[in-house]
Symmetry: C2
């Protein structure tokens, strides 16, 4: 086992000072050609690499980004991470991933763990419990310490920081409009509780499209699932009772379950009943029939978040200006609607 070599080791071996070694390795003008060559050759030979921790301590920059998200076994979040990773890595940053598992406490603990020097900034999507509670003190504390934060997707307006979202309202609006344009009359919505910022926005878009049309918007055509957990029975009962001819779902899973149920009942998709979901994941692509979805462009979102964060991290100026970037959703047309 050959241990890591340090500046001190090189200095000792070459009988020069540590500062000389450090400067020589940075090709400083201060050092003579001879010495530089000698030092650099030696460093190369022994595969010297500076210790990141020491450097971090010195210049108070870790080149680490903390990402705190509710869940990772979820297509949307993984694509966001990939986007973050991609951008961050290209800029020499590492990504530390922490999972809140939809729990407020875990979110707080994770942030505290990272906020003490481990990272230069946070990229986060709020846990459902946090959004339900409406308690954002852990975020405020961090921003007050001067640590930059970027919120994506599940955000709150109560914290001053950069934000990246897609226009969920618009996405739902366009999807609903699509149904209306195709002559659908009884359009249902399957969503989750309103405290999730995204669900709220999507419901709004759905509602808006209906109100703009001749169709009467009907509260009873909305099914609110109490949690993110799947409750297949609830969906079956709802679809069985309401008999809609089009269903908008706030995620893939609700949609695929719905499709499976109506198919078993003998209905044809999309002729008798059409489906649109949110999230362009693997499920939509390989569902039978394939599912039309409002794509959220997670990877783009991740890249954008990383870009905004790193910009803040690297800017010396302490401007207190924050922006909210709104990405446009796009409808990915597949076989679950007519086309």
């Amino acid at each position: 086992m050959k241990a890591k070599i340090t500046l001190k080791d090189i200095a000792r071996e070459l009988e020069v000072s540590i500062s000389t070694v450090s400067k020589a390795l940075k090709n400083s003008e201060e050092i003579s050609r001879d010495t530089k060559e000698k030092v650099q050759a030696f460093a190369k030979l022994y595969n010297y690499k500076p210790n990141n921790i020491a450097i971090s301590l010195k210049n108070k920059r870790t080149k680490n980004i903390g990402v705190v998200i509710p869940d990772i076994v979820h297509h949307f979040f993984t694509t966001v991470i990939r986007g973050i990773e991609k951008y961050a890595n290209a800029r020499g940053y590492n990504v530390i991933v922490c999972l809140s598992e939809e729990s407020f406490d875990k979110e707080v603990i994770n942030m505290e763990m990272l906020a003490n020097g481990s990272i230069d900034g946070f990229i986060m999507s709020l846990s459902s419990q946090t959004q339900e509670k409406g308690d954002y003190n852990h975020l405020k504390e961090v921003t007050e310490q001067g640590i930059p934060v970027v919120l994506f997707d599940r955000i709150t307006h109560e914290v001053d920081c950069d934000k990246v979202i897609i226009d969920d309202e618009l996405g739902a609006y366009q999807a609903t409009k699509k149904f209306i344009d195709q002559g659908k009359k009884k359009i249902a919505l399957i969503t989750t509780d309103d405290y999730l910022s995204v669900s709220k926005a999507r419901t709004k878009g759905y509602w808006k499209a209906l109100e703009e049309s001749e169709l009467d918007a009907d509260q009873s055509m909305i099914l609110k699932m109490p949690s993110m957990e799947m409750d297949e029975e609830a969906i079956k009962t709802f679809l069985g009772n309401k008999e809609p001819d089009a269903v908008l779902c706030v995620n893939e899973i609700f949609a695929v379950c719905g499709m499976r149920f109506v198919q078993k009942k003998g209905l044809r998709i999309p002729e008798d009943i059409a489906f649109i979901g949110f999230t362009d994941g693997v499920l939509s692509k390989y569902a039978n029939p394939s599912l039309t979805v409002v794509a959220q462009h997670g990877e783009k979102m991740g890249e954008e978040s990383a870009r905004m964060l790193i910009e803040k991290v690297e800017s010396e100026a302490e401007e207190e200006t924050y922006q909210t970037k709104i990405l446009e959703p796009t409808l990915v047309i597949r076989d679950s609607i007519a086309h």
Copy 2:
């Protein structure tokens, strides 16, 4: 913006030395009750938290784990990460995730980035390119430096380190056996190229089950997809020509595609043709019909990997004994086979 407070700040305010503050906060016996209370109260008031970087530098432990995997938008890997996260977090470790994107170079770069002090150990699954190349020097270098490594799923026996795998051969064997027991005669296998350690093992298990039976094992009943990319046409042609009555697939996607194709041809699943896939992901669960799979227990694998790594990290002893933990796969029976 209130900046982070340091020991030095506390020492100055309270007119004691830094060492006293440090000891007081650790409740050292050396310090008087009075002083301890004073210091602790002050620290609490100003919300003092020690700087992780400084501590890392001092005791040469970062409490960070580096995870390098080929891909994250893949159900199996995300479950593994979740398992790692869970265990590591409970032990006070953070997880730094790096993606090799199946590229050898990226794998090397990522490891180099992390190996200079950023992490205490690695948990990895090899990129396909690395397995294809068979070049494991980057791994060897790291282990020679005394940095513990745990390899999972996509491993190599050329590196001395702990390993966690599932018994892929057994999984494929059991699945194939299941087909045979159910009276299937023409059992096909859809896999990827052999350089992937897991595909190789699965092919072996498939082969073994066939050889043990009366059925003649036939090379032409194996479709090797050139890459991890989906080539729907290849699957269609293969299934169209060979007309198997059972298909084992090394992942979910191949299986779901296959199912969709044969359904369009009017075949009934599982009566006319049965399917079993690998990976108990979201796709299998919500496919129509739902897909029977060999579950890989990713979360367990992640936990196990983290456990082994942290044990090595925290053990002072430099025992050079490595173990390979083999997890048992389980068949999750769903509607794509008779039952």
